[in-house]
Every structure is written in C-alpha cells, then in structure tokens.
Amino acid sequence: MSGHWPPEWDDPEEEFPEGADQADTDAEARLSEVSAYLASVPALVLPDAVESRISAALAAEAAARAERPDPADSAPVDGARNLGPAPAQARVRRRRGSDGPRRRFRVRPQVVGGSLVTCLLLAVLGFALSHAGFSSSSSSATAGSAAAASSASASSAAGASVPSAAGAGPQHAGPGSPFVVTASGTKYQRATLAEQVRSRLAVNGGKQTFSATVPAASASATSAAAVPSQALRGCVLKLTGGTLPRLVDRATYEGEPAYVIATASRIWVAGSGCTAAKTEVVASVPLAS
C-alpha cells in the first residue's frame, strides 16, 4: 500500500524490517512499554448519531437494492464468480505490475451495459429537469449526481482508489440532514457570482427549496436525496452560523471545483474540501435582493 499516497506519508526505511529486529534489548523494552501503553487506551464506542446515520444509509441501500436487483449483489459467493480477493489486495496486485503476471480486468458486459444505460438515463433526466425548471423535484435532479458520488466513493473505499469527483467525501443520504446539495454544474464567476446565485434561487421561485429534513425512516427518500456528508454539513453550518442555507451547489468557481453556499443575505464560495474545521472560503459576498 505504498507509492500511492502523498510522498510525506512514505517512510523510506520501512521496507527494511531487519532494522526493527536489530534494536538493542533496552530499546526494545522501552518500545514494548509504548506498545503496552497503547493497548491500555480504552476502547472506543461508535456514537449513536453516527450509528444512526450509517444504519439509515444502509437501509437506503437495501431499499434501492430491493427495487433494482443488481446482478453483482445477488451473485453467489461460493467461488463460482472469481472476482479476485478483497479490495485492498486487488489494489496491491494492480500496482505491482512488473514483478508478476498481470491480472486482467474481467469486464462483464451485463454490468457495463447496465451502467451505461443508467448513466444515459440519468443524463437525460438531469437535462430535462434543468430545462423544465427545478421546482419541487430538485431533489430528484440531484439523485443522479448523488448516486454517482456515492458510487465513486464506495468504489474507492473498496480498493479501487477512485478519487472522488469533488474531493468532498461521500454524499450518502443520512438522517436528519437540514439541507441537500445540488450539482448544477454552473460555472460561477467572480464578476457575476451574485447574479448567478440569484438566478439559481429564482428557479425555485425564491423559496427555500432545500430546507426539507430528510426523514430517517424513509429509506427511499434518503436514497434519492443528495444529502451532504457530515464534513460538508459542518462546513455549511459553520459558514452560515447555523442558518439554514437556501443553496448549496456543487459546481465550479473560476474553473475550480467549489461549493457555492447562500443564505438570504450572503454567498460563500468554499473549496471542495470544506469542513467545519477548515472552511476553505474562496470568496464571500453579500447577496443583495
């Protein structure tokens, strides 16, 4: 798992484990004390809020799977399908390249075909909605992008190491989210930022389209909404001071991926890695009515 991350993560000597065995006895004893101390640190417990959120996301996944059975999900696991070992191992093997026989990707036509059809349908749906007005079905318009982001993130977690489109973490649905995220694809510019945001808001008739809390019990609803990640939620609420945003749009600003966030009175442009701890504000201007 080396050579695939920022250079500062690498330890140039880590491939020489012999060094670890050559430590003198005293040093070894002191390192054992560190080991024992770390082992004594109390175990952590998953917070209820996080458990609820993940359980809701899994319920949404289960609901989606029930509605649209995926051949990949329903295939037997008794070895009939030789898809390779667990993800991390597969990733390592792909990187080794020169020192062994390369594994070829086995492209399954039915999966590729299904994905292409799904992508085409989502593209057509998004195009139609963007021209028909966002109105009350804006959450559906974002479903495609949410699903895409979710899929990319999940693939990455499983070892495919696909970078997320916006670098903003997962967009899975979660319970109790106070707003949703659109992905309009608008190319916001510094000179016209306020005007562009007003246009986006005007599409919704000036209403607070994104204020509906996603009910945790509604699995299908959560699966259809582009609910922000916890990090993005923290970012937005930090910027707005807890005020519900009227717009959270994943787009570009001056050509760079960004989130455009607006309340009734102000606009913020934040970098795609925005969190509560580091908001990465690129621009902030008043939203004059």
Partner: protein
Amino acid sequence: MSGLASGEPSDAILLRRHAAGDADAFGVLFRRHKDRLWAVALRIACDPDDAADALQEAMISAFRRAGDFRGESAVTTWLHRIVVNASLDLLRRRSARSVGWSGDPDDLPVPESPPGVDSAASIDSRLDVDAALRTLPPPQRAALVLVDMLGYSVADTSAILGVSEGTVKSRCARGRAKLLPYLAHLRGDFPERGNQAVADGVPSEQGGGA
C-alpha cells in the same frame, strides 16, 4: 465479542445471507463490529467527522461488494481492510488539510508532568496519545493502531493493510520509536508489559472464512 452466543449466525453466514438478498443481515454484521470499525476509522482519520464519513463510505462499499467476498480471510479482516482503505483514501483526498501530520514534533503540545494520578491527568494522557498518533504518517499509524491498540496479530494486520508482515513489523517499530518521546512522561502510568486483548478478540475467531 470473543465468541458468538448459541444460535447466532457467524459473520460468514450473515454475509452469505446478505448476498442472497436478506435485507437485515448486513445490518446485524455492522452492529456486531461497529465499535472496532469505528476505532479503526477514528484512530486513522484523527477526526470524528472524517471518521464518520470514512466508515459510512466503507460500509456502503462492503454492502455493495459482498458478492466479491470469497472467504479467503475472515469477514472482519475484509471489513477492516475496507475501512482502512476508506480512511486512507479520505486522508489522501484531503491531504491538503495535513490531518495533523506536520512532520514537526515540536508542534505537539506536551503537557507538564502530572504531579499525581487524577482524572485530569488521565484525560491528558489520552489526549497525549491522540496527539502523538497524529505525528505518524497515516500508513504507520494504521499499523500501530491495528496491532497495539486493537490487538490484531501481525499476520492479520498484514492481511488488512495488504502489505508484508515485515512491513507491518517495521511500521510498528518505527511508530513506537516515534511515539516514545511523547509518551515518556506517562511511563509511570504504563501498564505491565504485554498486550491486553483489546475489545472484542481477534478476527480469525469471528466466524469468518467459512
């Protein structure tokens, strides 16, 4: 969770049920291991929000890819591997944030030597451990967390991280050496030598691999 109560399905059975369409099986699996998986994500990510994102991403991924599991390792090893990958991927994507890894140990807050053992000192000690862990490069941190804090064997950690056992040993040794200066003032609190069996036992006992 070192053993299953009578009648409880093993992890492998739950995963098979999930792959076969059982809507509840994966949830049971998640709840069974959630605390350990959370510990892995949080210790590697060093940030609760990031850890929550990574864990959710990992669980969705595992949910979708259960059909890929062939039983060559324990189910928990497979789950941990996905969580580790998700956590490292998230850190990689957010590497601009540095996630506490400055490379400069002087940035670490080193509290004054505690005059005695009290609750404040205990909290300080835990904070020291968290702060000290942040000084390690994430791959090294992951190895140390799995082996020293969660009690996984080097072999299991090797399987989880997808690196050789030698690399795991090396990362752990180097990580401990780096942590030593920051934990030295806690030596009076150090327990007797030897790893305690942290949390829920070892993964190979958890019904995987069947």
